[in-house]
C-alpha cells in the first residue's frame, strides 16, 4: 500500500493489522518518553487546505513521536492565497523532499488528484464529504478495544446519527464498521441521507428514539449550521427535537453502550446532553487513540521493513 486515500484501499486484514500495530503505539505513548526513532530522517508534510485543529495536531504529534521531521502548511497563510494551483503547491513542496503528504481538503477527491503530482505517499486527512480514513480506524480501534473484541465488531450495532450525506466520517466509518462485522443503522432526516445507499450494507431509521435503547454504540455526527441554510431542514430546532442527544435519550442508552463523536461538538445542536455526564462517552479517548492509530498508519506507509526499530524503545 503506497497511499491511504480511502478506507476502501484497505483490505479487512489491513484494518486488523493497523489496529494491532496501534496497540504497540499505545504502549509507546504510555512511556515516560513517548518517542521512538522509527521514522528518523523521514519528512511528513501536513498540508491542510481546510481548517483543522485536532486532526492536524494529531498527525503531527504522531509523526513527531516516530521521530519524523514535520513540515506544516496551512492554506490560510500560504501561496494558495496568491492563487497558486493545487498542482503547483504540491510539486513545490515535493521538490523540498517530502516522504508523505497528510492532506486535508474541502474538495472530495483532492488527495487522489495529488497522487498524480508527487512520488510521496499521500494520506487523506479528510476530503470534502468523501473520506476520512484515519478517523474510521481510530473509531474502530476505540470500539473494539472497549469491547475487548480485537479483530471484530461482529454482533455489535452502531447507530450513526446526523448529516450522513455531507459526512466523510460517516462514509469511512460505515465501510470499516460493516467490514468488521457490525450492523450499522443510519439515523437521519431524508435530506441528510445520500441519494443512493446501494451497496452500503446499512439500514436507516428516521427517529433517534426508535434506536437509542437498542444499540451498542451511539455515534453522533457534527451538524454544520450552514447546511441548515440550504433548505435541507426546516430549522435547527426541528432537527434537535428529533435527532439530538438529550439527557433523556442518553439515559435510555444500554448500560454497556458507548457514545462517540468525531468532534468538534456543536453543543446545543446535536449534543444537548453534557457528554462528560454520559457514562459510556469515549469522546476524549477517541482523541487519545487517534495518535496511536495515526502512528500506525504513518509507520505502515513509511516504515518499510524497519519493524525492528519499532521494538527498540525510546530514542537516546
Amino acid at each position: 500500500m503506497k497511499h491511504l486515500l480511502s478506507t476502501r484501499d484497505l483490505t479487512t486484514d489491513d484494518i486488523v493489522s493497523i489496529l494491532a500495530m496501534a496497540d504497540h503505539m499505545a504502549e509507546i505513548n504510555s512511556r515516560a518518553v513517548p518517542k521512538v526513532p522509527a521514522l528518523r530522517g523521514r519528512t511528513v508534510a501536513s498540508v491542510f487546505f481546510e481548517d483543522s485543529t485536532r486532526t492536524r495536531l494529531s498527525f503531527e504529534t504522531a509523526a513527531t513521536r516516530l521521530s519524523a521531521e514535520v513540515m506544516t502548511f496551512t492554506a490560510s497563510s500560504s501561496s494558495v492565497n496568491k492563487g497558486e494551483s493545487l498542482r503547483d503547491t504540491i510539486e513545490t513542496l515535493s521538490a523540498m523532499g517530502v516522504d508523505a503528504f497528510v492532506v486535508r481538503h474541502k474538495s472530495s477527491g483532492a488527495p487522489h488528484q495529488i497522487t498524480k503530482w508527487t512520488d510521496a505517499a499521500v494520506i487523506n486527512a479528510g476530503d470534502g464529504w468523501h473520506q476520512h480514513p484515519t478517523q474510521a480506524l481510530l473509531d474502530a480501534y476505540t470500539i473494539t478495544r472497549n469491547f475487548n473484541e480485537l479483530n471484530s465488531m461482529q454482533g455489535r450495532t452502531v447507530a450513526i446519527v446526523g448529516d450522513i450525506k455531507h459526512s466523510r466520517v460517516a462514509r469511512s466509518d460505515i465501510d470499516v464498521f460493516t467490514r468488521l462485522g457490525a450492523k450499522v443503522v443510519l439515523v437521519a432526516p431524508a435530506a441528510f441521507l445520500p441519494t443512493s445507499l446501494d451497496g452500503w450494507g446499512v439500514t436507516t431509521a428516521d427517529s433517534l428514539d426508535d434506536v437509542i435503547g437498542l444499540v451498542d454504540v451511539v455515534y453522533m455526527l457534527r451538524i454544520q449550521r450552514e447546511r441548515m441554510d440550504a433548505a435541507q431542514m426546516p430549522s435547527l430546532r426541528e432537527y434537535s427535537t428529533l435527532f439530538a442527544l438529550t439527557p433523556e435519550r442518553a439515559a435510555r442508552m444500554q448500560s454497556h453502550a458507548l457514545l462517540l463523536h468525531p468532534g468538534p461538538i456543536n453543543r446545543g445542536v446535536e449534543m444537548i446532553v453534557d457528554p462528560s455526564l454520559v457514562p459510556g462517552s469515549r469522546i476524549l479517548q477517541q482523541v487519545t487513540n487517534g495518535i496511536s492509530v495515526r502512528m500506525a498508519v504513518l509507520f505502515s506507509l513509511l516504515g518499510g521493513d524497519a519493524t525492528t526499530t519499532l521494538q527498540n524503545g525510546a530514542e537516546t
Binding site: 494551483s85 474538495s107 472530495s108 487522489h112 488528484q113 470534502g128 473520506q131 445520500p194 441519494t195 443512493s196
Partner: protein, 429 residues
C-alpha cells in the same frame, strides 16, 4: 487545401443518400458535384474503396472558444478539428466572451470562420442578453447576419415567460430555439450524476430531474406557442420518454444526443478525474440504453458533439472546481459507430441530414450526393480501428475522455466547398 480549379474524384465509395445507396465515383469541380458515375477521372483521385461518401457532417453543438478563450481553442483550430471529424458545418455556441448576443460578435465569428475557410462556421445567437435569462436579444438583427439557431447553451432559460416569448419570436422569424435543459436551482455546485457512485464519492449530485423538469416545461411551451424547439444533449431516460411522447402528440420538437452520453457512464468519475466531468453529466447504463433506443426509433434526431475544449491547467483541479466539458469533433464518428450499430444511412441522417434541417441550413448542407449539389462531402468508413491519442488531435486542448481507447470507424477525406481539406485522415493546410 486543394485549389478550387482542380477537379477531385472520389473513387469506389458507396454513395449514401436518403433514398438509395450505390457504388459510384463522384467528381467535384467548381465547388459542386459535377458527375456521379463509373470510371470518372480528375486532377486529384482519392481512393475510397470500402468507404461511404455522404454529405459532410453538421454539428449542432460546437464550442470554438473564440473570442475569449483562445488558449483553449480558436476558430481555426476548431475548424481543423471539425473537418478531421468529417464536419463541413459547425454551429458555434454563443458562450464566448463577449457572448454572441450582439451583431458585432456574431459577425466576427462568421467572418473569422470564412477567413479560415476549412468549414462553414455558423454563429449561434444567445436567446437572452449575456445569457442571463432576462432580456431577449435582437433576434431579427442577428438573423440578418446569418444566425439561424438561438441558445443560451451552458445554461437553460430559467424563466418560463422569457422562454415562451423567445419561442414566439423564433416562430415568426422561422428560427430554431435550442435549449440546454437544466433547472439551475437543482444543480447548484453539482459535479456528477446523482446516483450510487456520487453517493459513495461524496460529491454534490446532478439529478436527472433537473433536466427532465425543463424538458417537461418546454414541451408545454411548445404546445402553447406552436413554435419549434430543439432539445440539446439529452442525457436521461426520462427526457427521452418526454420527447417521444411529445413527438407522438405531433409537437414540433427535435432532440440531439452527444457521443459521450451514449458511450460513457458515471462510474468513470470514481477516479475523481475531471476529464470525465461534463454538463449534462455522464449517467447510467439504463440512461444509455434509453438514449440508444431513442436513436433507433427516431425520438432523437441528431448526434451533436458538444465539443468543449478546456485548457490543460483548468482540468488539473479538483473535480468540483474543474470546468465541465470534453472534446468531441475528431472522435464523434468513431465513438458513435463503436457504441451503437447503425446503418450508414442512419449515421448520415443523424450526423448530416437531420442536423442540417434543424440548423436551417439544409438548402446547402446535408444535401444528397447528386450532380449540381454543393460539394460539402465526407468520406468515411465504419471498419478502421484506431487508437485515440490526445497528443495527436488538431484541437488546442487535450481534454478527450477517449485517450488510449480504440474506436472503430474513421473519417478518411473531407471536402468543403469543393476543396479537399482532409486527405487520408490528415488535415491539409
Amino acid at each position: 487545401m486543394s485549389s478550387k480549379n482542380q477537379s477531385i474524384v472520389i473513387r469506389g465509395a458507396t454513395v449514401v443518400n436518403p433514398d438509395a445507396m450505390f457504388v459510384a465515383d463522384v467528381r467535384i469541380a467548381g465547388g459542386v458535384i459535377e458527375a456521379v458515375g463509373d470510371a470518372l477521372t480528375g486532377d486529384i483521385v482519392l481512393d475510397a474503396t470500402g468507404c461511404y461518401v455522404s454529405s459532410g457532417f453538421v454539428d449542432l453543438h460546437t464550442h470554438l472558444r473564440e473570442p475569449g478563450k483562445e488558449e483553449a481553442e480558436t476558430i481555426e483550430s476548431g475548424s481543423r478539428a471539425a473537418v478531421l471529424g468529417g464536419f463541413t458545418a459547425v454551429v458555434a455556441m454563443p458562450n464566448t466572451d463577449p457572448a454572441q448576443d450582439n451583431v458585432a460578435t456574431v459577425q466576427f465569428v462568421r467572418d473569422r470562420g470564412r477567413a479560415v475557410g476549412l468549414c462553414e462556421v455558423i454563429p449561434s445567437g444567445c436567446i437572452t442578453v449575456g445569457r442571463l435569462g432576462a432580456q431577449l436579444v435582437p433576434f431579427e438583427q442577428l438573423a440578418k447576419e446569418g444566425v439561424t439557431l438561438f441558445t443560451d447553451d451552458g445554461t437553460g432559460v430559467q424563466d418560463a415567460l422569457v422562454m415562451q416569448r423567445a419561442l414566439m419570436v423564433a416562430k415568426r422569424l422561422n428560427l430554431t430555439i435550442s435549449q440546454h435543459c437544466e433547472v439551475a436551482s437543482m444543480t447548484v455546485g453539482a459535479v456528477m450524476h446523482d446516483g450510487a457512485c456520487c453517493s459513495t464519492m461524496g460529491v454534490p449530485g446532478w439529478p436527472s430531474a433537473a433536466e427532465e423538469e425543463m424538458v417537461r416545461r418546454d414541451i408545454q411551451l411548445v404546445r402553447i406557442t406552436g413554435a419549434r424547439e430543439h432539445f440539446m444533449h439529452l442525457s436521461t431516460k426520462g427526457s427521452v420518454e418526454l420527447v417521444r411522447a411529445a413527438k407522438a402528440e405531433g409537437l414540433p420538437v427535435t432532440a440531439e444526443v452527444t457521443p459521450h452520453h451514449i458511450s460513457l457512464t458515471d462510474e468513470l468519475l470514481s477516479s475523481f478525474d475531471p476529464i470525465f466531468k461534463v454538463n449534462p453529466p455522464l449517467r447510467t447504463m439504463a440512461d444509455i440504453a434509453a438514449l440508444r433506443d431513442g436513436l433507433a426509433d427516431g425520438t432523437i434526431d441528431a448526434i451533436a458533439t458538444d465539443h468543449a475544449p478546456h485548457a490543460g491547467h483548468t482540468k488539473e483541479q479538483t473535480l468540483d472546481t474543474a470546468p465541465p466539458g470534453m472534446l468531441g469533433l475528431e472522435t464523434a464518428l468513431g465513438v458513435v459507430n463503436t457504441a451503437v450499430t447503425l446503418s450508414p444511412q442512419k449515421i448520415a441522417a443523424l450526423m448530416s441530414w437531420n442536423p442540417a434541417v434543424i440548423a436551417n441550413i439544409s438548402d446547402h448542407q446535408g444535401r444528397p450526393i447528386a450532380v449540381g449539389e454543393p460539394a460539402h462531402i465526407a468520406v468515411w468508413d465504419t471498419t478502421t480501428v484506431w487508437s485515440v491519442s490526445r497528443d495527436e488531435l488538431a484541437s488546442r486542448s487535450t481534454n478527450t475522455p477517449y485517450h488510449g481507447m480504440e474506436l472503430r470507424g474513421r473519417v478518411r477525406h473531407t471536402i468543403y466547398n469543393g476543396q479537399l481539406v482532409v486527405q487520408e485522415g490528415k488535415a491539409l493546410s
